[in-house]
């Protein structure tokens, strides 16, 4: 059957670097742009729509368009943290469908590792942020904010550290086959729960890596996709959402996926049981667990049980995830993992994932991004993708 689709992903590229000592951020943006355009068989002069987020320096999209010499009809610089690039996929589909552009380029790049920015440090969103006065005195860090969500999830649902660890174990099983992954060693549940506590209840191995690099995507109209050929991947559905502290009615155990997931599934006219492969944002193990619940892959509170027993391992479990090793083991360029989630989903749908992790007859995939801090102040973006013949 051929499902309707308004735009295709024609090019995808992940920067091979994990530590970019002698490259600038604009240079990395241009390198991933070139990689994705080559992958699509297109050139920079073909690009008429450009999408980037807060990692783009200077005036963002304006600075990057100038640096790369792009001549654009359409620009979108939506910033929702690490989920931005998955939101951009949806926005690019809309822009193409509306005739505002026909070749849309999305880029991400960053070098937090070369710049010595730790994943456990405080993020500086500027003193103008209205929450700063009431939060910054308490040293909230990315780790302890996610840790509080994990603690609360454990309290409400009985989730255990061993269940969270199973997510890292699955990622490591995939990363062993990825020669570019930062952490290639297969770990056990015991390894994870015995690694040092960073912020209770999260251990060192519950956290993602810090890496440099980036990635890019090229989306095209259905007409162009027919010219380019069968490696083009369909975008079947999309949804975005935000979630915040709701004026003090804090709820740490739900994510924006509660909203973005159903929107994307309705858009695609699919249900979670249809999905063959998922790329789930994995800044921490708890990010994956709560997202899987909120997307509807299991009942709320059952995430711990769902991820246990190798259920996320390709060829073993019922829902293979993050077959490149994800942010937990492979890379997390610019502390923003949304882009690489889409790229691995594209590889799976093209049958170009590593043979040891390739999902057999992979037809329908989902990629999900989380931005900001889970449950507190976050962006959420979900896309559903299909193989060219889906």
């Amino acid at each position: 059957m051929s499902r309707p689709c308004k735009a295709y992903i024609a090019g995808a590229f992940e920067h091979p670097t994990r530590k970019a000592v002698d490259k600038t951020v604009p240079q990395l943006h241009a390198e991933v742009a070139l990689g994705a355009l080559r992958d699509a068989g297109l050139e920079s002069c073909d690009v008429d729509g450009y999408f980037c987020a807060g990692d783009a320096p200077g005036l963002g999209g304006l600075s990057m368009a100038e640096y790369m010499g792009l001549n654009l009809r359409h620009i979108d610089t939506t910033e929702t943290g690490g989920s931005s690039y998955i939101a951009h996929v949806g926005h690019a589909v809309d822009a193409i469908a509306a005739g505002r552009c026909s070749v849309a380029l999305i880029t991400l790049a960053g070098r937090p590792r070369a710049e010595g920015m730790s994943s456990v440090g405080a993020r500086d969103y500027g003193r103008g942020a209205p929450d700063v006065a009431f939060e910054q005195p308490y040293s909230p860090l990315i780790t302890n904010l996610y840790a509080m969500a994990a603690q609360r999830h454990m309290h409400e649902h009985g989730t255990t550290s061993e269940q969270l660890a199973a997510i890292k174990v699955a990622a490591s099983h995939h990363a062993q086959h990825n020669e570019r992954a930062m952490l290639r060693e297969v770990v056990t549940v015991e390894d994870v729960v015995n690694s040092p506590l960073v912020a209770d209840p999260l251990h060192r191995l519950d956290c993602c890596v810090v890496s440099d690099g980036g990635g890019a995507l090229v989306l095209v109209s259905p007409e162009k996709a027919r010219e380019i050929g069968p490696r083009c991947v369909k975008v079947l559905g999309q949804g975005t959402a935000i979630k915040h502290l709701s004026a003090g009615r804090v709820d740490l155990t739900h994510t924006g996926a509660v909203t973005s997931g159903p929107l994307a599934f309705a858009d695609a006219r699919l249900i979670p049981a249809d999905i063959d492969y998922v790329s789930i944002y994995d800044s921490f193990t708890i990010t994956v667990l709560m997202t899987l619940e909120d997307l509807g892959f299991c009942a709320k509170g059952q995430g711990g049980r769902f991820v246990s027993d190798g259920n996320l391992i390709s060829g073993v479990g019922r829902l293979p995830f993050n077959t490149d090793g994800g942010g937990l083991c492979n890379n997390h360029p610019g502390n923003r993992g949304g882009m690489t989630k889409v790229i691995e989903a594209v590889r799976q749908l093209r049958g170009e994932a590593h043979p040891r992790v390739q999902v057999r007859d992979c037809t329908l995939a989902l990629a999900h991004g989380t931005g900001g801090s889970i449950g507190t102040r976050m962006g959420s973006a979900t896309v559903i993708l299909g193989r060219n013949d889906a």
Binding site: V120, R127, P130, D131, V132, A133, F134, E135, Q136, P137, Y138, S139, P140, L141, T143, N144, A147, M148, A149, A150, Q151, R152, H155, P196, L197, V198, A199, D200, P201, L202, L245, A247, G248, R249, V250, L252
Partner: protein, 144 residues
């Protein structure tokens, strides 16, 4: 006890919207904001109500009592500290620290009461401590 390293609280940002909150802390009270137009209490305090955007918001003094909603001990910090969200009896949840107790004794749902710590520049910062009387054992534990 004085030889123990103390957590350093960064000075909070004070501006026209936040100054009354911090002045009240200096005087030993926790102030919240309620909207005269819709009646809702919100946190963090704003000049404009986040429920209805009315500018008719007024300060009132909170009970200073609540329960731990979530917490995490930042083990990598020196010294470690316990960040938390506390749900006040007034119904709003705020970010804070749990102090004056053994970290291992902190629990979600625990009753806590308002206390203060001095920031690096001498501003009183609201924190919370277990509401029950501290046992000698808990005091010793807080030093380890």
């Amino acid at each position: 006890m004085t030889s123990q390293p103390q957590h350093i609280y960064p000075d909070p940002l004070v501006n026209s919207e936040t100054a009354p909150y911090w002045q009240a802390c200096q005087a030993g009270t926790l102030q919240l904001k309620r909207c005269n137009a819709c009646g809702q209490t919100h946190f963090y305090p704003r000049a404009v109500c986040p429920f209805c955007l009315s500018g008719d918001t007024v300060w009132f003094t909170a009970s200073g009592l609540g329960r731990v909603y979530a917490f995490s001990v930042m083990r990598r910090a020196e010294p470690p500290y316990a960040i938390a969200y506390v749900t006040l009896d007034e119904g709003v949840t705020l970010m804070t620290h749990i102090v004056d107790c053994a970290f291992d004794g902190i629990a979600i749902g625990q009753r806590v009461a308002l206390a203060f710590r001095q920031s690096a520049g001498g501003q009183a910062v609201p924190v919370f401590r277990p509401q029950a009387r501290l046992s000698a054992e808990a005091l010793v534990g807080s030093l380890s």
